[in-house]
Amino acid sequence: MSDGAPACTGTATLRVAVWRGDSNGSFQVFSVPRRGSQTVLDVVTYIQRVLDPTLAYRFACRVGMCGSCAMTVNGTPRWTCRTHVDKVARGGKLEIAPLANLPVVRDLVADMREFFDKWAAARGRFEPTRTREDDFAAVKPASPARGEADAAIECIGCGVCYAACDIVTWNPRYLGPAALNRAWTLVNDVRDGGNVERLAAVAGDAGCHSCHTLMSCTELCPKELSPTRSIAGLKRATIK
């Protein structure tokens, strides 16, 4: 290589342990050639296309927009399409499993149903107060409420925070960081009319008051959001 890129396109291989089967499954080891700028999703795709076409996994956009490729990589939930092997491989080894805190469908595919059901339970749906006959709502970009909503709104629903949350592990009814973060964006949406029901839905032992501020969600969110901050905002909002 004349351009000075890392010399990892030669004979180097990765030892990759991949989860196979449902929740009673086990790890299967593959050898995958090491490449420059290789992502974890590249590794999984190589295994499925070259080594074992029966491997089940989920992805769509490959560029960090859709939120469908999250997996557990060496014990930590990550978006695999934007996670470079350089950053996470230890001693040339990778262990790739489905997201924690969710049922396993097969191999690397987690069942996201309860994750999104909790968005609905947290009243994560916009409740309009205007009709199409009304004029546009004027929301000033610099207003404090818009600022709060902006800070939390880029969630792509990947489930990394939910898999990282110890409270979800302890209390399976807990709504989780993503659903509560979504509720917080709507609490700050001046056009929304559903906040009485929403704040009742997100309070209590399955809601924001269960958060122990461990901040795993905030540390691992690939979009660098802070669900912890959103949950703290919900706690304040529920006592008004």
Binding site: W170, A200, V202, A203, G204, D205, G207, H209, T238, I239
Partner: protein
């Protein structure tokens, strides 16, 4: 417990925490002052006994600690002992009342006398 009730417990724990932060600082400052000044137990009791201020201060301290600790224990009982909300609440109430009884007994001994 209802979501409203949980929110209220959270608020009570936050408010009592704010008071406890103040109480603990005053308490520690008093201990350091008394120890560094070389006061004996008899001298300390001589100053606290009959003092409405110290009696009221430590009585408020006891109530804040009982409320704060009781709510915290309820959460621990639900999360770690896997108790139901009602059972955890009853156990936490019993512990809070015990804290109040023990605390007020100590306050009476220091601020009123034997």
């Amino acid at each position: 417990m209802s979501a409203r009730g949980e929110a209220r417990l959270w608020l009570w724990q936050r408010v009592t925490a704010a008071f406890l932060a103040f109480f603990v600082l005053v308490h520690l400052a008093t201990i350091i002052y008394a120890v560094r000044g070389g006061l004996s137990a008899a001298q300390i009791l001589g100053r606290t006994r009959g003092s409405v201020t110290w009696g009221a201060f430590y009585a408020a301290f006891v109530f804040a600690a009982a409320v704060h600790g009781g709510i915290g224990f309820r959460t621990i009982a639900i999360e770690w002992l896997r108790l139901r909300s009602r059972a955890a609440g009853a156990l936490a109430l019993a512990i809070a009342l015990a804290l109040v009884a023990l605390g007020l007994r100590a306050v009476a001994a220091v601020a009123i006398g034997p």
